[in-house]
């Protein structure tokens, strides 16, 4: 014997629809919540990246409590920071000089005439009114010379690429590299020149270091793109001659010319860890379900990084 619904199906359907709409419409509600965050004492934030062969320049900022309404970009530090550069045995090398922010910039710069020498170590000690004093050490790595050569055109899925080989001899010991390219022609000088590569040792990096990813050799079938730099470690070719092939799209240059400078940077471990943490924080900032990443710092008593890197570049006309 068939069993029927107690009410006509149409009525039941309308009722179910109405109730479902009410239910679904309420599935997102938010409200302020009071949780006592601990007192946060502001710290001096250091941005000190020492490029081999270039005068040392450091930027300073101040951290704030998370709930503060001020922007960390407020240049209230002004010339108030006393920053002194030391050598490894504690002798003063120089006192950094305050420079106003770049045009359009907001952070004060502190510069020195001391040039960061490859293989040398430096210590920074700094104080600012109302903030704990900080100290940090950095060693500038030795650059690794790179040679580049064009090896012709390649068609991949209907797109023509200019194929370029970058070759270098990796020194003994673990090394992290950044491989980048910038335009050098007059129209687009110093602009990033994107490239792609199928080399399995290159690590993913969309805007910065990205999160490391081990790519197994058999997976290197297709090229992936790098808008800023490709990152790689020497795992698998430590102490050997390494050749990496990168491809430049000749058809979609976005206004960037064909004169490029291809650079291989050796990054210190502190710089890698700082930039990696920064990148992970950025990429997961909007995901409430990902465990947050603590910002890396090698600055005692403060935040930020004081770290060295060394770059070797070669120019090429595509």
């Amino acid at each position: 014997m068939p069993h029927r619904l107690p009410a006509p199906a149409a009525v039941a359907r309308r009722l179910a629809t109405a109730v479902a709409v009410v239910a679904l419409s309420g599935c997102d509600f938010q409200a302020p919540v009071d949780i006592d965050l601990p007192t946060y004492d502001p710290l001096l934030v250091v941005g000190g990246f020492l490029e081999a062969g270039a005068p040392i320049e450091v930027r300073f900022g101040e951290s704030l409590p998370a709930e503060s309404g001020a922007t960390t970009g407020t240049p209230w530090l002004g010339p108030g920071v006393l920053a002194v550069l030391y050598d490894p045995i504690g002798q003063v090398l120089d006192t950094l000089v305050y420079r106003p922010p770049d045009p359009g910039g907001i952070y004060p710069r502190y510069t020195s005439e001391v040039v960061a020498e490859p293989g040398e170590s430096y210590e920074l000690r700094a104080t600012a009114p109302g903030l704990p004093s900080v100290r940090a050490s950095a060693r500038v790595p030795l650059p690794v010379p790179v040679t580049v050569r064009s090896v012709g055109l390649r068609d991949i899925a209907g797109v023509t690429y200019e194929s370029v080989e970058a070759v270098w001899t990796d020194p003994e010991g673990p090394t992290t590299y950044a491989l980048s390219s910038r335009a050098t022609d007059e129209r687009s000088v110093n602009r990033l020149r994107p490239f792609v590569s199928a080399d399995p040792s290159l690590r993913e990096g969309y805007s910065g270091l990205g999160r490391p990813r081990e790519v197994r050799p058999e997976e290197g079938a297709g090229p992936r793109g790098y808008s800023r730099a490709a990152y790689l470690t020497d795992e698998g070719f430590d102490g050997e001659v390494r050749t990496v092939t990168i491809l430049f799209d000749r058809q979609r240059r976005n206004g960037i010319g064909d004169d490029v400078s291809i650079c291989l940077s050796v990054l210190s471990d502190e710089m890698v860890r700082y930039m990696r943490a920064l990148e992970v924080q950025r990429s997961t900032a909007s995901d409430p379900f990902v465990q947050p990443t603590e910002a890396y710092t090698n600055v005692e008593g403060g935040l930020g990084a004081f770290a060295g890197y060394a770059t070797s570049c070669r120019d090429l006309s595509l």
Binding site: S63, E214, A277
Partner: protein, 800 residues
Amino acid sequence: MRFVRLLLLSASAFLSVSSGQAQEGARGLREITGYVLERSTDEPLVGASVYVPATSEGSATSAYGRFVLTTRASDSTRVLVSFVGYRPLALSVRELAVLAPDARGEVRVRLDRDSLGLGEVAVSSRRSAALVGGIPAIQMAEAERLPSILGEVDPVRVQQLLPGVSGGVEGTSGLHVRGGSPDQTLLLLDGATVYNASHLFGFFSTFNPAAVKSVDLIRGGVPARYGGRLASVLDVRTREGGGRRTSGEASVGLASAHARVEGPIGAAGEGSRTAYAVTARATYAGLIARAFQSRDEWADYGFGDANAKVSFSPTSRDRLYLSVYGGRDAFDTFTSMSGFTERGRLAWGNLTGTLRWTRPVGRAAFVEGAVIASRYALAVSTESRDPALRDPSITSYRSGLADLGVQFSVEAPLRAGPARLFRVGVEAARRQYRLGEGVAQGPNTPPVETRATPLSAWEGAAYAEVEVHPVPALQTTVGVRTSAFVSGETFASVEPRLAARLRAASGLSLTASLSGGVQYVHLLANSGLGLPTDLWLPSTDRVSPERGLSATVGAEFSRRRWTASAEVYGRRMDGLIDYRDGAGFFNTAAGDWESQVAQGEGRAYGLEALLRYDGDRTTGWVGYTLARSERQFDALNDGEWFPYRYDRTHDVAAVLVRRVGRVDLSATWVYATGDALTLPIGRGPAFEVVPGGFGYGADDPSDEIEVYSGRGAFRAPAMHRLDLSATFNRTVGKTERALTLGLYNAYNRSNPLYLALRREYEFVAVEGGSGEVTRVPRGARLYKFGFLPTLPALSYRVRF
């Protein structure tokens, strides 16, 4: 094979001893074997109690409704047979021994359904159903009377009302048992492992309530026959189909509808050898939602599942069961703007199959073998179209795993000293892991593929357990389980299992258990939401198995209709995995999952208390858990211990069910300490350089680093909620009808799904009267984002 042969020989030796015994032994012991069945359908009842109060001897029915009662009671002594949701039956030992026996002398006890409370008679008998951890799982008959989300009874989520069992994200069906994560609970559907037991992002489980016959939740003292998980076991058995007539049920609710048909195949009636049960369920919430969305932007959600089971007896002793489950979810999105379109699909599904063979051997022994398969698959895809380009941009991702295994076990009574029953078994399974394959292709560009190398592994186990009664008042189960896992690297483990119950005085029982466990598979979970993107991973040379040791001590006192129990537990865990800071699904999906995870240890301990009343018309309980669950990973939180995200210091569940006339009224109230959260406490400028001669990047004041508290250093506001339900029952002839109305979260508590710090700004006019405005920061405030407000529940069910 040699091991199996030895096992069979050993078993045969035991069986010959057992079967050679007279039914009544020299010391006055007698064995009564038989089945407990539902009267109207002859459906075997799993976990029913057969109990002799005078001697405190008892037995619980197996997955086939079978019991072996070994008793020294005299013929006239009273035996109680009971099961939740059924009218208990009291009869003498003599009556039981001759109750509808078959050719082998195995008896048949049939119970009538009874939607009322258990009553005093059954209270004491149900205690024997579980040897230890005396709080049995909530069965479907009880669950149907309790409030539910949108009227959809969920056999898994309802277990969160038990002490020691908590949910993670509110409303989801994941089980966090005694401080363990959801993956540490072994979910079995007719013996097959279910890897992702969630529909609708975890708000419904894959277990169709209409298909479920029994639920057994083992929270401590896990028997040796179960393995592979650290915390607990949820063993769900589906209906087999009636032996006498075709029957079924149909139900419609706000979110879904389901139907079941079952019955004999061929000649119906007593002794019908072939039976079937088919159940199907589908949701229409997505279709309804579509009607209220625009053509240019919509989201659609659908899920469905089906269970089918056929059982038949090729001989008078042998019985075969074929059980199949298939379920699938699909979440589709579409956006269109100015000719640009984007489609997305997230789809996942489980498929399980079990072919099982059973055979009684000798007088009371029982042999069982099975071939079991389980498969889980996830697929994510997007397609974007630019009207100016011929080809679309496409991304796709797939992952999953598949198991194929065999099991064999023997169970038989023993008369060796105080030993009463032994059970031995072997298992082997091949597991294949598809750890993520992604393809991305833009217009006019070649596809970029990422693929984590698929892995396969072998897992094998052998176990033995013996029930020993040193004295009548003391029942113990002693077992050992050995297992091995081969996935390039080989892991092996020996796990002790011990459980004991001492009936110390009238109504008072003391329990204790010790249970070692090893878990060779890990669940890498983003959120605890039970998202389909959670990834099951094998142990490898870089990721070791999870190992744990649990112990419990408890006491239980029952008097008339009241039962009070308390249990203390502790567990150590090692080899736990978690994402490294900042890692997430989309990194893992890119290939190298091993570098994305950190391994560490954990500890969980707590006190559980329960006060329960089982009246004729009123049933209810209050459960309370005081607990702590912590983790320590060298790579996380500076190596310091931190609370597990779903650590619940206090967890309370109060349940009240009252029958008024033909109406079941019920209310549940739950309270739980909030999640342990990591929150930002400071922020600063994010300085960086671009290597390659670019120097410092441009100053960007909005680009900041965040400084966080220690992991889990903050507590979200507590979660609490009141749910109400009223079920109007009506029986016409053989047809039962039930209309359920209810409210979920009756007082509209905004329980937080997550917390986030939100910057607040004020727009002020720029000085000079130009009319321009600028955004001025005014601070930041912590917000909680709730998810489930007051929701109505409505369902109508017909059972015939």
